[in-house]
Symmetry: C2
Subunit: 161 residues, 2 copies
């Protein structure tokens, strides 16, 4: 279980966010922000049928993260939290997850909305978003309970640069 | 963008499913199935505060997948679909995603419910499940629209072995 697991980008996510500063920290706070995903031409055929879905899950490499911390002070908080209880980018395996609206597919280019990543982010995978698979009746959201309302207002600062 | 992206397992997922056959294909079809996640001791501190969440997102390496197909016949269908429009395991980057209920954390062991992966699956990341981040009002679920009802009944066969 110590062996290397090797992936390669299948494409690149383009957004208006050229740096981590002032970036929205979650898609819900990036409402309306449009971006594109350029899939490598050799994977284009794998996009067939995806245009039937209104939302897609993007998994990507948080490529600006250097190293990791097991405890972090998340954007919405002022206390040290275990990194796995947060969505902070400096994780042991820096994989990011965002569910975005799919506007259109033009050959190997996806036009998406509500995207919250930095321009140039390497894409690892796309999955169709299916509420029957992905939605849960969460009855506890831990330390976020009393903070979630502030989310829409908060933008990232540069603490993870 | 052709460089290798290297990850390592942070732990191992244990389930009652010792092979891909007869395995539920999504957590919604694995209701009640309990499993454990053994996190490597060196990452245990990163679990702090996670016990406040009722549900967590597991990202894992679909380690039994060999190679990939850009078009697949998914379990719920009988037509070839683009792999990115499915949750099939033989993907260019075989990363799996499941949202499960968190029952308890005992030191570096998580007890979880509604788990749909094969025993011994290498874990890549844990994220707290937060409806405000993760739930979307999907108005289209493509080819799955008329098939989703069958999901609970279907179990995987061995077509991806």
């Amino acid at each position: 279980m110590n062996e290397n697991i090797i992936f390669r980008a299948i494409g690149i996510i383009h957004t208006p966010f050229t740096g981590a500063e002032k970036m929205p920290i979650q898609p819900a706070a990036a409402k309306g922000v449009e971006g594109t995903v350029d899939i490598k031409p050799e994977f284009e055929i794998g996009l067939k049928d995806l245009d039937g879905f209104s939302h897609i899950i993007l998994l990507y490499h948080l490529h600006l993260s250097r190293g990791f911390s097991l405890e972090v002070v998340p954007f919405l908080d002022d206390k040290l939290r275990g990194v796995f209880a947060t969505r902070a980018p400096r994780r042991p395996n820096p994989i990011g997850l965002s569910t975005v609206r799919l506007l259109a597919i033009e050959s190997n280019r996806l036009r998406i909305q509500n995207i919250d990543v930095v321009d140039g982010t390497p894409l690892l995978d796309i999955k169709p978003y299916v509420p029957e698979f992905d939605d849960q009746r969460a009855d506890k959201i831990g330390w976020l309970s009393d903070k979630i309302e502030r989310m829409r207002e908060i933008r990232s600062d540069n603490r993870f640069n």
